[in-house]
Symmetry: C2
Subunit: 258 residues, 2 copies
């Protein structure tokens, strides 16, 4: 019988730039009485990765350009709320392409290729007057974290870095994978058939996104628990780091859901 | 420390029209040595619900119309694969609005309002020359299943009916909630603040979709295990059946991700 267990890792200290996140996670898991074990999947909210890597911007260092000032003024008018043009500039700096800018919301395609609100830039859980960016190379971050966990506690795990994205057609946000190491992001059953030889319809499963969504179920957003560990899915792990979450990006020209 | 457990329910027999799905699930769980318990969430792939409700069409009973014949001919030309115009007619019958019809793929808004490939119509795990539709009223199906489980084994559970949908911007499918009873589909933290008083960015979590995605992680698609049970999230359950998965539908005019 298939089963899995997900546990939050409590007690992670506030993460600062340059800190060894792998060691912090490994130690917190030990303190919680549930050390990491071979075959587990470590799901990390991107924010602590960004902080450890210094992917943080102080608003005082930002000089807003023309487009940022215009957007901030328009958003303020649309929403009736003040909008800091420096924060808009930070979002634009992370944006390869503005998908929509309406009703105070900026939907961006980031330099990585992710499509999300505000290019993933976030003020929550950040120090005052700073904004947290997405990691520059989340797949690289996941690979380093995986190697760091192997080194600091001798375990072979997979690492998934998650962020909460809105979606087309449906309300609310779900966590998706933005970085990944040690796991295939997609399970490809195309061409596979069911027990009676019929072609399967749902045949290209985004397992990494399903795993990312698990994290939000075990930790309250404001609890300071950015790490969840999934046990029982050893069969999904790969020796190689694999193609990463970048393999989940669908080019717009192939996209029939738009 | 937050934690949850997910287990597949093995040994569900082939489901036929008119059968008591609640009793079949309850009995299978008992046979597996893990009976349903209060506070658990029962995640059911929609296919068995559709079969029990008779939401199944025999292709021999279908007379394709003009639009179905045209689309089938075009899809066959686009893909180089034959396409049965009767199957296209079945999809059109389930479609309120054709979102896209390209490269052999029909993206529909269903009569329920879901946007998905082929209006959710599926040949996999169906008897030969039949197609399985989405349940007519999946939230109603979830409420009846919940009541049936309360009656047949005296447990207070939540019920979630899932289907695998493709997404905009990202490759692969994930399971989402199409029917729900006993659980709020969205956790609304808008206006809530983090530990240091900063406004949270991800504040409207589609928990029902995160739960739906769990199901695909514990069961292989071709294993005949359409039911998964989530334990450890009692705090999410509601006494009332609640607004159902219909509350997850985002009207196109509000959608900034398109």
């Amino acid at each position: 019988m298939g089963s899995l267990n997900v546990r939050a890792v409590p007690g992670l200290p506030e993460v600062r730039i340059g800190e060894d996140l792998a060691a912090l996670i490994a130690e917190a898991a030990v303190r919680a009485g549930a050390p990491l074990a071979d075959g587990e999947i470590v799901v990390v909210a991107h924010k602590v990765v960004s902080k450890a890597e210094g992917a943080v911007v102080a608003l005082g260092d930002v000089e807003p350009g023309e487009q940022a000032r215009e957007l901030a003024a328009r958003f303020a008018a649309e929403t009736g709320q003040p909008r800091d043009p420096r924060a808009v500039q930070v979002v634009l700096d992370q944006t390869r392409e503005v998908v929509r800018a309406e009703r105070g919301v900026l939907i961006s395609r980031t330099h990585h290729g992710f499509v999300c609100a505000n290019a993933g830039v976030d003020a929550s859980n950040a120090a005052e007057d700073t904004l947290v960016l997405l990691p520059r190379d989340p797949d690289g971050s996941a690979r380093r974290l995986r190697a760091g966990l192997a080194q600091s506690c001798g375990v072979e795990v997979a690492v998934l870095i998650a962020d909460s994205f809105g979606r087309a057609w449906r309300h609310g946000q779900v966590d998706v994978a933005i970085g990944l190491a040690g796991l295939d992001p997609l399970q490809d059953w195309r061409g596979r058939h069911d027990a009676r030889g019929m072609q399967l319809r749902a045949t290209w499963l985004a397992l990494a996104d399903a795993l990312a969504a698990l994290g939000e179920l075990v930790r309250a957003k404001d609890s300071g628990e950015p790490v969840a560990v999934v046990a029982g899915l050893e069969r999904l792990l790969t020796v190689e780091d694999g193609p990463g979450a970048a393999a989940l990006l669908r080019p717009a020209e192939e996209d029939l859901f738009l």
